[in-house]
């Protein structure tokens, strides 16, 4: 009994630390002016989310989060941020400040709505979580699910990734002939 409660206290401590880091880095991503710092804050957000996934016994998703997001996607983000280079930063909002006020109201409404919906259901159904076996969330278990019950989702995901890769290559390929005439008179003359 003592061991179980000690484990619970440790999980609480880890949860509070990871949750606070998650919320703070999320706010930091939105509020930093420099996209480079925003991307770095998002890496912190993804890492703390990976800790939360581990607490929810989703080991494979946690590892994939760190590898795919914090590893691959964020490297691409930082590369493009460095490629685009320092520019004049557009201000936070355009136009009058009632737009910002409306954005705050809309997001607050979303948040309150979700919390109220959870609170209405929490009394009955969200009280006690199910017991899960030791293989819940392991790579073998995920792989078996992906190749049996969710094979269609797996294949469609691969097609979506392929299409996105082709689209990225086409968007990134040289469009000098089409784009030269816009703001470059010499290019248009030549």
């Amino acid at each position: 009994m003592l061991a179980i409660s000690a484990g619970g206290v440790i999980v609480w401590i880890v949860w509070v630390a990871a949750g606070f880091a998650c919320l703070a880095s999320g706010l930091a991503v939105v509020s930093f002016t420099n996209p480079f710092f925003s991307a770095l804050a998002l890496i912190g957000n993804l890492a703390s989310l990976a800790v939360l996934y581990l607490l929810l016994s989703a080991e494979f998703v946690s590892a994939a989060q760190v590898l795919v997001y914090a590893g691959a996607v964020m490297v691409m983000f930082l590369f493009v941020t460095a490629y685009v280079g320092p520019r004049r930063e557009p201000p936070w909002i355009s136009g009058p400040s009632w737009q910002a006020l409306a954005a705050v109201l809309a997001c607050g409404a979303i948040f309150v709505e979700i919390i109220v919906a959870i609170g209405l259901k929490a009394s009955g159904r969200l009280g006690e979580s199910a017991h899960v076996g030791g293989d819940f969330g392991t790579p073998a278990w995920i792989g078996r699910l992906f190749l049996t019950d969710h094979l269609l989702a797996f294949e469609i995901t691969s097609i979506v990734l392929l299409v996105a890769a082709v689209g990225g290559v086409i968007l990134g390929s040289h469009t000098r002939r089409a784009g030269a005439g816009r703001h470059d008179p010499e290019g248009a003359a030549g």
């Binding site: 919320l23 991503v29 494979f60 994939a64 685009v84 959870i118 979580s129 996105a164 689209g167 990134g172």
Partner: protein, 103 residues
Amino acid sequence: MLLGPNIVWYLGIAAFLFATGAFGVLVRRNPLIVLLSLEIMLNGANLALISFSRHAGNGAGQIFALSVMAVAAAEVCVGLGLIVALHRRRLALDVDELSELRG
């Protein structure tokens, strides 16, 4: 059983992350930061999916979260391609000034 906090606390964090990302998408004008805010929204949804997956003891939520990750990678690929194309054409990186497609 689930040690530590109840599933409701995880859902609260997920809701806050989603609202934060939505605020960033609505308010910020730099397309890079709009993309980063979209990632935060997707991660909030992912956290909710994994919480419900753990709560129900069902693996479909984790499969869905992995699919969301792949779709997010695809979205970042296309979005960053668009930003690089904007940079090539010397256009301003400001989502309010990109109104060429307006009818």
